[in-house]
Symmetry: C2
Subunit: 145 residues, 2 copies
DNA sequence: TCTATTTCCTTGACAGATCAACTAGTGTTA
DNA sequence: TAACACTAGTTGATCTGTCAAGGAAATAGA
């Protein structure tokens, strides 16, 4: 998950700290989602599809919004379809595309999760002031750019 | 990899930014390691074992230093052993333990990687001043704590 | 209009993360 | 010393990430 601990250069420490923080964040939300039987990525897909509305999105579009390689998305969608949370059908204008839509069940599930997730957001940054939060956003956005 | 993009609360943006940065960092180092046929985690294990010296470390110890669940470590070590980079043998004092040691081949490989990795560290934070770097370390270390 | 290329997506294969269940030694204690 | 719990590690199953290869529809060019 994370680079190891032997620390010499200060940069290494900083990088390590960023990676560890991301790791804690991921675990935190994974924990929140576990009772619903959703993984973090599945949840992301559902939220993206909720945002897309009833007309749905083609597979690649979903992938792009997740910064994710396509093959993973296909199989992610496979599982969500099996669970009845997503439905897919060929697009008529462009028959290469598969339009993915969230089902009503997905909307219900997401609605249940909204509060816990917002709370999770709060908990994640509970130790930072609003200003520090902005600073953190700024600094991380400038990493490797 | 990352939470999706629909953004309402500022906390969400910050969290997203941290996750994305970690993602870029991970990809960056993965890229550096690819020519050597090592994954990031394999590299971590080898560095840990290099740090441990010739007497090696039991499997669980390796796992702890990686913030990693044990089962994963076992299989990680399996692959490294197949590649001839790690050797394992039962500990005589406590026959439950497997002592894992880096081989000479591993040391050679790591030596080759030291410079590229240090350069990778530099590149990662190239856009931050030393002070900003410290700030980033501080802020991330306070996330979810 | 027919081939060549591109685009969208799927499949296969393998590394890795995580959970649950299990084996094999160790230690403890009655 | 026999029974019990504990520790170290492995194995199996499922999900995800990534690469490489490929199919099928759309598009471009001759």
């Amino acid at each position: 998950m994370v680079l190891n601990t032997p620390v010499e250069q200060p940069s290494k420490e900083t990088i390590l700290s960023v990676l560890k923080a991301a790791d804690r964040i991921r675990r935190h939300f994974t924990e929140i989602l576990k009772p619903c039987g959703l993984t973090l990525q599945q949840f992301n897909v559902l939220r993206i599809l909720r945002g897309a509305g009833p007309q749905g999105l083609p597979t690649l579009e979903v992938g792009e919004r997740m910064i994710e390689k396509t093959p993973g998305v296909t199989r992610l969608l496979d599982r969500l379809e099996e669970k009845g949370l997503v439905s897919r059908e060929r697009c008529h204008e462009d028959r290469r595309q598969q339009l993915c839509t969230r089902t009503q069940a997905a909307l219900d599930l997401l609605a249940e999760l909204d509060e816990p997730i917002v709370q999770g957001d709060r908990d994640t940054l509970a130790n930072l002031t609003a200003q520090e939060e902005n600073e953190l956003k700024d600094l991380t956005s400038r990493i490797l750019r």
